[in-house]
Amino acid sequence: ERTDAGNVIVFGGRQAIPVLDPHIRYDWSTRMIQQGVYDALVKYEGDPAEVKPWLAERWETSDDGKTWTFHLVENAKFHNGDPVTAEAVRYSFERGLKLNKGVAWMLKDFLSPEGITVVDDYTVKFELKAPYAPFLSFLPWWFVVNPQQVKANEVDGDYGQKWLTDHAAGSGPFKLGRWEPNVLYEVISVEDYWKGWPQGDNRPAGVIYRMIREPAAQKAALQRGEADIVEGLTSDDYVQIARVPNIVIEDHKGMTTFGIKFNTQKGPTADINLRKAIAYAMDYDAMIGIYNGAASLETSPLPDAMKGHIEVEGIPRQDLATAKEYLAKSAYPDGGITLDYVHVAGLEEARRIGLVLLDNLKALNIDVNIKPEQWPNMVAAGASVDTAPNMTSIFATPISTDPDAVAYQYHKNSWGQYYGIAYYDNPDVSRMIDEARAATDWETRAELYAKIQKQIVADQPEVFGMLQNRRWARQDYLQGFTFSPVRFTGEVDLYPLWIKEN
């Protein structure tokens, strides 16, 4: 869109941004805007994703891996002109930890507010309770807020939660513009952003994130030029729309794993042979077919782009003979059972994979009952081993590139969490995960993770599915799109985008 101030990029998305507060919520749409208006100490960039210095220009780690010292850039300033100081960083982390919401889970077991100290105006020190290898990988998601502004808007000691819901106190490349919940959310470029703009004078005047809920409407908006980039079209739409002139499909390999998690403790699926039988009956090509090829099969519990990933040999592929062998060994040699398959209501791909599963398991004489559930209800049911469904389809996007982010899902401590819905219990695996977490040396860790991956595949707590590609459809004049697999599906780094005029 052209406005008086210059070009405004329109992003058509399906998900609302109810709460912008960086320490309260994060999901792809929220974090996309948060990343725009706030800065963190470090930032993920590139494919494969790497942690880049941002507010912190450099940092040191103590030998025991417990103390981290960050040196901040000195020219960074908040939108209201205040400088970004060490105190602001300390306050932000304290706020995140004390509120105990949103991002808190990433660090709270290893960091307490007292462990953060301001060394000088531009130096901040973190003392961890124990060595924690993944520490740095979480920091890109801890955004820094302006303490002055937040405190000024505090109500009843709420750390400014209420105010930050639809206001921002950041230092990022954008500041908030029009904010019409459920309609559109606008951010305006900060002219003198402290880090400058990679696209220079081509810098857009701003970005409008526009809610377009229906894929058909999204597509129409794209075709009519009302949107410059959209996410969330159907796979078939991407194929179709790729043929439209002037429209480019961004198609990148992502890190979101899909698995059909079994309840490994209760019900028929507690039987490993049955699990194996199902895993071998599954038509993996159909899974890829659902995405029209824009996906790749998992070769390990860890996504390909993750550090420490290995290709596990013997991970099941469709093989009916083997499937039947396993079935014969199971408690249900003739099938004749009905298994529930639960997926999040409205998630099309999960639904379709359910259909594929249903079709495939007919060969084993196993019936599948596909049950869409609201996300909260599904999680609630999964919170107890007794109510966890036989099979649950889970998409999981690791929050960081550290292998722990995925491996920990198979730790017994994850029981009750949605990603621990398999109730997988292998003491060896849990032990190795703990060891790998604490180890500071990458070689040791890599070895441990290789073992972990192999063991998990052998135990088959889930049908290892595929990694879907991340896709966007954009106008060809939209430039500067960069991809990083560590971002969520749909999430885009708005900072480098610009519009090429012709």
């Binding site: 229906e214 894929p215 058909a216 079209l233 159907t234 078939d236 739409d237 179709q240 038509d283 090509d285 159909a286 077919g289 659902i290 209501a345 409205g346 099309e348 639904r351 379709r352 359910g354 259909l355 594929v356 249903l358 079709d359 596909i370 049950k371 869409p372 559930e373 609201q374 209800n377």
Partner: protein
């Protein structure tokens, strides 16, 4: 005038005994046939019922209605093999639409049936008893009527969780008040009729009066409403299915099909077009039928 007077009971032939009824039926038939729209409605409903009855045995790809997957033939346009094309899983839409008639019929019957089953007795009691009982029933009814059905149903299904049964339960819960109101109004009118008083004067008990006098006289509007409601219930259920709270896969339910298919517009138009058209034609059929029935059963509009 009467030559039969002397003889004892002579069982007359069926047609003699029921001459009045038969004539009435013929009159109804005559009037019904005279109306193009009524006949259209009857035809549509007839087709729908036949499809619901024999659907699974006449469709070309019965396994597709049970969730068969053919990744090789996804989203094919209508052709001689797949009359309505195929969907995103390669299933034959024609087969699924036809068999979907069963699901819809079931939805319609359950919702209107439950609605009437709850609403009619309550309405009759409220209308006949009056006083405190009526006040209670009608307050409750008005409460339900004060919230538009779809909004309430949405809340119920959202709370119960999606699924066909929950969807039908929710709609039945919002459906009965309509019957209470209809039947109560009608009962109030019929109650004032002399024949009700006459029945009381010969010592009839309340249940007898309700069953033999009030109910039969409320029947016409109930039948009309049920006929209309069959369509409206199917439509409402499809609406919930559209929001994503309806029948789970692979059940061929029209609303859910449109819901999935809407993201395939416009390039794969047939996917949403045919189930949508099926909903439309079915609901149209029941509405036209109901309208026609109203014309002949409701004496108010019968004055010709």
């Amino acid at each position: 005038m009467s030559k039969l007077d002397q003889t004892a009971t002579i069982p007359a032939s069926f047609s003699e005994r029921h001459a009045g009824r038969i004539r009435q039926m013929r009159l109804y038939g005559h009037m019904f046939r005279g109306s193009f729209s009524s006949m259209l409605g009857l035809t549509l409903v007839g087709i729908f019922l036949i499809l619901a009855a024999v659907g699974p045995w006449i469709v070309p790809f019965p396994e597709d209605t049970l969730g068969a997957v053919h990744m090789g033939s996804r989203l094919l346009p209508p052709s001689t093999e797949h009359w309505f094309g195929t969907d995103e899983m390669g299933a034959d839409i024609f087969s699924r639409v036809i068999v979907g008639a069963r699901t819809s019929l079931w939805i319609g019957i359950v919702i209107t049936g439950l609605g009437a089953l709850i609403g009619v007795p309550l309405g009759i009691i409220a209308g006949y008893k009056g006083g405190f009982v009526r006040a209670c029933i009608m307050r409750l009814t008005e409460l339900f009527l004060a919230v538009p059905g779809l909004a309430l149903a949405l809340a119920i299904v959202a709370s119960l969780g999606p699924g066909l049964t929950n969807c039908m339960v929710a709609l039945a819960i919002v459906w009965w008040p309509g019957y209470v109101r209809l039947v109560e109004a009608k009962t109030l009118a019929v109650k004032e009729e002399l024949f009700v008083e006459s029945a009381r004067s010969i010592g009839a008990k309340t249940p007898w009066i309700l069953w033999h006098h009030i109910l039969p006289n409320c029947m016409s509007p109930i039948i009309v409403k049920m006929s209309m409601d069959m369509g409206m219930a199917i439509l409402a259920a499809a609406g919930l299915g559209f929001i994503g709270l309806g029948a789970p896969p692979p059940a061929p339910e029209w609303g859910a099909m449109v819901s999935v298919a809407r993201s395939y517009m416009p390039d794969w138009w047939w996917y949403s077009f045919f189930p949508g058209a099926a909903i439309f034609l079915t609901v149209l059929g029941f509405n036209l039928l109901g309208d026609g029935l109203r014309d002949i059963l409701d004496p108010r509009s019968r004055a010709r």
